[in-house]
């Protein structure tokens, strides 16, 4: 797994800035995402995906071995849904097959 430090180095390289600058802006970017989701329930980054607020219901756990019961309270978390562009980017083969199918059906 790529660690945070490695990610910042790669991000700085892609963005064309130093690691300190990238780290600084990344920290603000994370806060912007969280604040925007809090205020407007979702944030869309074109070509990447949508960050949404997701509610998790209360969960009751039961251990049959020990007989212990536990209740995990309801919470709100951040969910991500990839965009179709990202999906095609991650799956070029299926994109090609879908494109050929479409061409064949048109013909």
């Amino acid at each position: 797994m790529v660690t945070s430090r490695q990610f910042i180095n790669a991000l700085a390289k892609n963005a064309g800035m130093t690691t300190n600058e990238a780290s600084y802006i990344l920290e603000h970017f994370v806060n912007v995402i969280i604040d925007t989701v809090q205020a407007e329930d979702s944030v869309t980054i074109q070509g990447f995906g949508v960050f949404e607020k997701k509610k998790k219901a209360e969960k009751r756990l039961f251990n049959p071995t020990t007989g212990q019961r536990r209740v995990i309270p309801a919470s709100t978390t951040l969910a991500f849904k990839q965009s179709p562009k990202l999906k095609t980017n991650l799956n070029p083969d299926t994109a090609n097959t879908a494109a050929t199918k479409k061409n064949n059906s048109e013909e």
């Binding site: 797994m1 963005a15 800035m17 970017f29 074109q46 019961r69 709100t76 978390t77 991650l90 097959t97």
Partner: protein, 331 residues
Amino acid sequence: MTKSTTQKPSERLASASGINRRTAETFIKAFAETIVECARQDGAAKVSGLGTFKIQAVADRESVKISTGERFIIPGYNKLTFTAAPSVSDVLTDQPPLLPIPEAPAEESPAEESPAEESLSDESPSDESPSDESPALEVPVEVPLPEALVEAPVDSDLKTTTEHPASPVESSEPPAPAAPTVAFPVETSEPPAPAAPTVAAPVESVPGNSVAGNSLPQATPQPKPRTSIWAVIAIAALAIIVIVAVISSNKDKSKPDATQQPATQQTFTLDDESDQDANQRPRVHILRKGESLTTISVNYYGTPDSMAAIWKLNKFPNPNDIPLGTEILLP
């Protein structure tokens, strides 16, 4: 649910970090590309304070065309999943309600203070004045002296008091004029009490005198010891009753625990309430039509969560496919 496009995040990022908008947009695009690259390279990319992005492979799955009934295979694909960091969940869960902050009340008008405060301020000097002085010496006006004390003559040492008993009407009145002249350290709550310690010696020496000045405090201490003794006895009796009740209730609670201890190894402790019914529950249940492990769990344990325990005990290969008439062991 409102949505926010890339422009707003870039604008907010620019204003928050102090960079220009183009740099912010470039950064956001680089962020997306970097995540995809890192996830492809090592399978996962972690962003501190936000979460972890992973590429997850979705397998091929079979589906059916509704119109023709033809079966076909939906090919598998890779998708980018995200798991939020715990700190993010904590922040979003503890989000305070977006309510306007009420304005603080104006402090410019001291005259508009609550009457309670005024009353407190009024009361404070009166409360302070008696506390500064010795409480035993000040004589409150409210306590009327009994008639026996008023009518009895006073010794030379108590001449000042004799003058007032000459007019019993005045002394019986609770208001102010009678009280300041009385030299005894009488308090409002217990008028006879302060008289007892100061005049205790002369009372004991002349117990029978009702005419002399010592007779004035003589009558007062008598009722006090009786009432105080009875009060102590009553409180002690109540305490003993409470202690006995607690001890007896603890004994009753301990008895059923002792009886339930010798349970077999296969019993599963599910609930405190269900343990009490364990002796009444049968050990075996024969499966009938329409029943399932879940319904059996609900019937015997009051919750469907015990289905897993029943399944584990009986070791059914498929809990959804149990033949009718099967004997099901109950934990």
